[in-house]
């Protein structure tokens, strides 16, 4: 009997499939666009801010947003207690949040990847030890850990990044290790070795490609989480120094004036909500697109 190529009639083209995937999940599309927008705002903060975010003007302090009585379009979202422009500060705050989120995730995932590989590959004592430490970190109430360490190390951008980088590594360790073990068990590493592949080849050809999907998805959620927690630390006065415009610092200041000038706390909070929203939608979308099991059903 002769062998034919697989019949391709009726199979959607890759483009149509991609469009179907995107259009099926409009929320995901919205998340992607929102996320890109936020990244652009962070990059072009100096160009788009109407004012210097640090410029104080006590005569104009606590001016309400433009559409409320007493507001002007000069300061669309009003001013804070020191008369600084809220909009410009929120725009600049994007930089702090994204920096912390991005670098934090970079450190956490790198650390997690290395330790997870070590644990998965070496097995035995190394594995037990790494997993014990990992579980230990996962057992301690996360926020408490972060608050205590931040209060000990003191306020600085670098400290905040390092704290999030280290305390978030355990999750990445788990995922990496799980994937390494799964692939080792599946037997195709053995067969690759028997075909003469080096450990490095196996790492790059088999293990890393399989890790990209789950890690990317988790990274998105973790980044959203870090932005959340950075603002929380700022709110408690434990994040970046007070002179840096960050959403957390703004919320912390706004809290004192919540009765009469609620906008000082309201808008930075909304910024956090939208950023977090974009990343969560992005993460959900990535998970759907990258997971072949979910992808199949319409």
């Amino acid at each position: 009997m002769r062998i034919d190529a697989i019949d391709q009639r009726g199979v959607y083209s890759p483009l149509r499939r991609f469009m179907k995937l995107i259009l099926r999940d409009k929320a995901g599309l919205f998340g992607v666009i929102l996320f890109l927008l936020i990244v652009l705002i962070a990059i072009f903060a100096p160009q788009i801010s109407p004012h210097d975010p640090l410029q104080q003007n006590l005569r104009l302090s606590r001016q309400p947003p433009a559409w409320q009585a007493g507001g002007t379009w000069e300061y669309p979202l009003g001013t804070d207690n020191l008369g600084r422009d809220m909009l410009s500060r929120i725009i600049y705050g994007t930089r702090v949040s994204l920096t912390v989120g991005f670098l934090g995730v970079l450190i956490a995932s790198t650390l997690g990847l290395v330790l997870g590989m070590l644990a998965g590959y070496m097995g035995g004592r190394t594995d037990s030890f790494i997993m014990w430490i990992t579980n230990l970190f996962l057992a301690v109430p996360y926020l408490l850990l972060v608050v205590v360490v931040a209060s000990i190390l003191g306020r600085s951008l670098l400290n905040v990044i390092l704290i999030f980088g280290f305390t978030n590594a355990p999750l990445f360790v788990r995922i990496t290790r799980g994937e390494v073990l799964r692939i080792r068990k599946s037997g195709y590493v053995e067969s690759a070795i028997s075909l003469g592949a080096s450990q490095g080849r196996i790492l790059f050809d088999h293990i890393l490609p399989n890790l990209i999907g789950p890690l990317l998805t988790v990274a998105t959620f973790e980044m959203s989480g870090m932005i959340f927690y950075e603002a929380g630390l700022g709110f408690l006065g434990l994040s970046v120094p007070p002179n840096i415009p960050s959403w957390g610092n703004m919320l912390s200041a706004g809290r004192q004036y919540i009765q009469f000038s609620p906008w000082i706390a309201a808008y930075p909070g909304l910024a956090i909500v939208f950023t977090s929203l974009s990343m969560n939608l992005l993460g959900d979308w990535l998970r759907d697109v990258l997971d072949p099991k979910i992808r199949r059903s319409a």
Binding site: M1, R2, I3, D4, A5, I6, D7, Q8, R9, G10, V11, Y12, R17, K20, L21, R24, R295, R296, S297, A298
Partner: protein, 346 residues
Amino acid sequence: MNSNVNSNKNDKPILEVRDLHVRFDTVDGVIYAVNGVSFDLYPGETLGVVGESGSGKSVTMMSLLRLIPEPPGRIVSGTARFRSREDDLDLLQLNMRQRAKIRGNRIGFIFQDPMSSLNPLITIGEQIKESLERHTKWRGPEARQRVVELLEHVGIPDPDARYGNYPHQFSGGMRQRVMIAIAIACDPDIIIADEPTTALDVTVQAQIVDLTRRLSEELGIAVIWISHDLGVVAGIAERVMVMYGGTVVETGVVDDLYAHPRHPYTVGLLGALPKLHENVPELVNISGTPPSLFAAPSRCPFEPRCPWAFKTCRERRPALESVQRDGHFSACWYDMEKDKPREVRR
């Protein structure tokens, strides 16, 4: 297909399926899983259904009582006339409540994987009892007594003590016996068994086959037995239906069909087989890839892999037609007996 297929059974069919079409809407395209399947099932007989993976065996049978996931699944058209002592109705026209009255009551099911087919958090006794309580008048202690009898009937030792056990405390074979007990609990007219022995050890397989055959004879239940294993089918079924690419390509009495296969696909399946009943191996591998199901078949679905294929095969789809012997049908443009293309009626 108009037939009085079974010479030894002159009853009317208990189930008459006609021109069933089922599709799945996926991101990769529309899957044409079942394309105009028709068949009959007679009271008390066992019908074997064979075909390679993806040929639409499960989807065909599960569609009858809408046990496929919808969406993505979609039953496009077809009828399924179910005719028993009490009922005469089209299964595909039923509403949800009516369907639920037939399921597990008039038509019982046994599935492939006994490990995952029972709820791990409910005792097996309760899982049988809930079926009884749904469809019969048995309640409470009486229902329990009946369950114990059923367990005994399907060969579970110490049934009274086993009633309160959970599925994980049973072996695979024992769980499949529990599934059989569920299927026969309400004294059904039909049992649909979807590869009930595939996940089991060979020795256990034989026991399950024997048990099903014994029960169907004792209780007069008609059985649809889906399998990959031609040997098992030979052992249990009176008639076989061969499926390919979501269509029925050949159907007939077991002995006849195994001895004189008329469809090139069946010939391929039986390929190396020396004689019937002698330790028939699993489906032999037929070269070529299974058909794409992403388009409605407009030609013979087996054409790309068929050594006999000729021009007509690429132009028109063959329908099931009677081939000489009583109740033997094949969907092929080529006449094996005369070894030349069949006359094509225009």
